[in-house]
């Protein structure tokens, strides 16, 4: 496979995850769909099942969303609910919802309740993965139990018994994917980039959409045979905040005259920078990773999250940061003032786009805000 072939494939599955799911299902796979970055795909692979991360689609609407969901839900969650109502997830043998964000927890309960109201709704079987991220021993013990419960559920839907050897293999495979993403990141973070921020999102996502049997060779091909580099002197932006599971905001920033070199959110560059430990007990290693090693809305202490953010700023040599928060954000806004101070202290300019709607966003306004901000940068003498 050439790098160009790999990139084409990555772009295609990024643009049509559900099509990819349909294809694998038709080929005989037992699919386990999941949301967010907090479901241990290692377990799904160790059970011999086929994991695929599902995200919202701002263009996918269902009249049932407005009927049942309060407008205060994250836009992406509204979109996921609508997709579930329209049968988009019918290919999934199981849908795993992690408890790492309140609105996703609510989504779980709404999807459980909805068959009472919509008799024809074909919601797949659901599993709540009650992962907690408080940094305590007691919580680690709880999470271990939740891992075992998820494993039992996977076995129940037809997965193989998860033994230690299979788990070790799966951990190594997923670490391989994380490392490959780390290597690939020079393609969008480097001085002479060969990939845009939009492509970066696609590459990162591909590791959780394609089966590893396909994702590993695709990423290897991309790293070994990258697209040609081009000189790019536009300001280097780090985009931070609510998940950008689709490329709209990144594209908008790049159209406005900047380069998005890094993403700090649960679909971005902080999702692959920590590996699962391969020594010791694999269950404990997985718990440690998902409890403490991944970014998440509920994760704390804040200092640890901020250090990770600053490390990414440094690694990507971002010159500016754009904070982008969802319309009904009730959490990230608490962190913003401190993070702004951290950036100010380092002389890094930032723009705060708060309360941004996911559905029907004010594109012209957003564009103007970003362009206006970028214009102020150029006025500063070098």
């Amino acid at each position: 496979m050439t790098g160009a072939d790999a990139l084409a494939r990555i772009r295609a599955v990024y643009a049509d995850r559900l099509g990819e799911a349909r294809r694998r299902r038709a080929a005989g796979a037992t699919l386990v769909g999941y949301f967010l970055n907090a479901v241990p795909v290692e377990l799904i692979l160790a059970a011999g099942l086929d994991p695929i991360r599902l995200v919202g689609d701002p263009a996918r609407r269902s009249p049932l969303t407005e009927r049942y969901l309060e407008e205060y839900f994250d836009g992406e969650v509204q979109s996921l609910f609508g997709a579930a109502m329209e049968g988009d997830f019918a290919d999934m043998s199981l849908l795993v919802i992690p408890r790492t964000a309140e609105t996703y927890l609510q989504l779980y309960y709404f999807l459980k309740e909805i068959p009472k109201w919509e008799l024809q709704a074909s919601v797949p079987p659901l599993h709540l993965f009650d992962l907690l991220q408080t940094p305590h021993w007691t919580v680690a013990q709880y999470d271990l139990g939740r891992m075992r419960a998820l494993a039992a559920r996977l076995e129940e839907i037809g997965g193989a018994r998860i033994d230690e050897a299979a788990l070790r293999t799966a951990i190594a495979t997923c670490n391989r994917l994380r490392s490959l993403l780390g290597q690939a990141s020079t393609l969008w973070q480097g001085d002479a980039p060969s990939l845009s921020g939009v492509d970066a999102l696609a590459v990162i996502a591909a590791a959780s959409v394609l089966h590893p049997d396909e994702a590993v060779p695709a990423l290897e091909a991309l790293v070994a045979d990258p697209p040609p580099v081009r000189r790019d002197d536009r300001p280097r932006v780090l985009l931070k905040g609510s998940p950008q599971s689709d490329p709209r905001v990144t594209a908008l920033i790049e159209e406005a005259g900047a380069r998005v070199v890094a993403h700090d959110h649960v679909a971005g560059d902080t999702t692959y920078d920590t590996l699962v430990s391969e020594g010791g007990d694999p269950w404990e290693a997985l718990v440690h990773h998902y409890q403490l090693g991944i970014p998440g809305l509920r994760a704390y202490p804040q200092r640890a999250q901020d250090q990770r953010f600053l490390a990414l700023v440094e690694r990507s040599r971002a010159e500016v940061v754009i904070f982008f928060h969802d319309q009904y954000d009730d959490t990230l806004g608490w962190e913003y003032p401190d993070q702004k101070k951290l950036l100010d202290a380092r002389g890094i300019p930032s723009l705060f786009l708060k309360q941004q709607p996911y559905l029907d966003p004010p594109v012209a306004e957003q564009h103007a805000a970003v362009a206006g901000f970028l214009a102020t940068l150029q006025k500063v003498p070098a």
């Binding site: 319309q327 009730d330 913003y336 003032p337």
Partner: protein, 433 residues
Amino acid sequence: MTDTATRPPRAPEGERMAATLAAQAYQKATQARFRAEVIEGGGDYVIADAVAPHEIFHTMDVPVISLPWYSAVISAKQLSPYYFGLMDELGYHDGLPRYTSLPFMTTLANEPERAPYGGLPKPTMILERLRGDYGQKIGEQWARAFGGVPLVTIDNSSVTELTPGWFRHAQSDWEALYEPHRLDFQVKQIENVIAVAETLTHRSLDPGAFRQVMHRVNEAGELVDRAKRIIAAARPAPVSLPEQLTNVMAATWNRGSQWAVDHLRTYCEELEARVASGVAACPDERVRLLWVNNGLWFNTGFYRAFEEKYGATFVWSMYSNFLSDGYRKYFTDDPLRALAARHISMNEQLHLPGWMAEWIIEQARDYGCTGAVMLVPIGDRMSAFGTKLCAMALEQGGIPTLTLTASMVDARLWDNAAMIRKVEEFLEQRVLK
């Protein structure tokens, strides 16, 4: 209007139940004690979430300041606009759930002359239960703003199956309802809280005293259930909703104390005496209503605004008998597991689609209510989730339901005339047909 001669006496406006006055006096005395022992005396105290195991601290005789209570005091003193202004200045955007963060702002402002009671002194610890996503964020910053106090957290496990009829299982049959793996975890977390509390206060939790506290909460719950049966059966109702709430909330905040038990007993006796002598909140009562979701704490008069014209009276809110249905946890030998069961799904019982509606429908039947008004707060989405499905379920259960969307943050944004008109139209068009 009914014939004045045969109509039972209306409890005159301003003439409260003796129990109501006693509850208010007790709250005052508690505050005086807090001022003397903590603010002036520098004693230990804990800032805690509303839904947290206060029982531990009650047993250890450590005062607890509940977050929403202090927020309410700030709002009642009309200070919220000032602190919201400060939040703007500090960069906290106005879509954040601001109401419960008011107490945190008084600490950041550090202006003792402005804050109620001179501001909260440095607590022994802050106890946050991590429902939602942001409690830990505020807690961390607040603990830092106090100059570094321990933030102790209870993380919030989630129930995987919503067993129908939670209120039939919640008192005695709770082990399966709340799921054993969650209870195991909650017990461990509470044990951690106890260890930290003992370490910081140099006191110890006496197992015998704790057991008594846990029995007394159940006893208080039984009395609230008795009050419920009195109010539910009497036509007209012998007590207004604001007075119900004063009495029940005082007992809830002081749950586990002998005072709460004694108080509720006298409250019940007074209710019975009122029924016997025909004293009523609204003697011309023709329609009984439910008040669903958050209370209108800044305007309890609203609950009574429809009596004069329509004989329509609110007889129930979510706090009327939650102390009986939600708090009571009977146990044979393990009071700590019962305490774990008490808070583990409390918000879920009040707010999750399915669980919320089925309880409220049952309450409507018990109290003979034929309509419901549901408040959906703006700027606190945690309390708004599930309200659509709840309203639909109530309608399906034959209970016409009016939804009022309003800001709970700023009382000045409450358009009283418009809200009254909405309820009046609802009564005329849907309830009194």
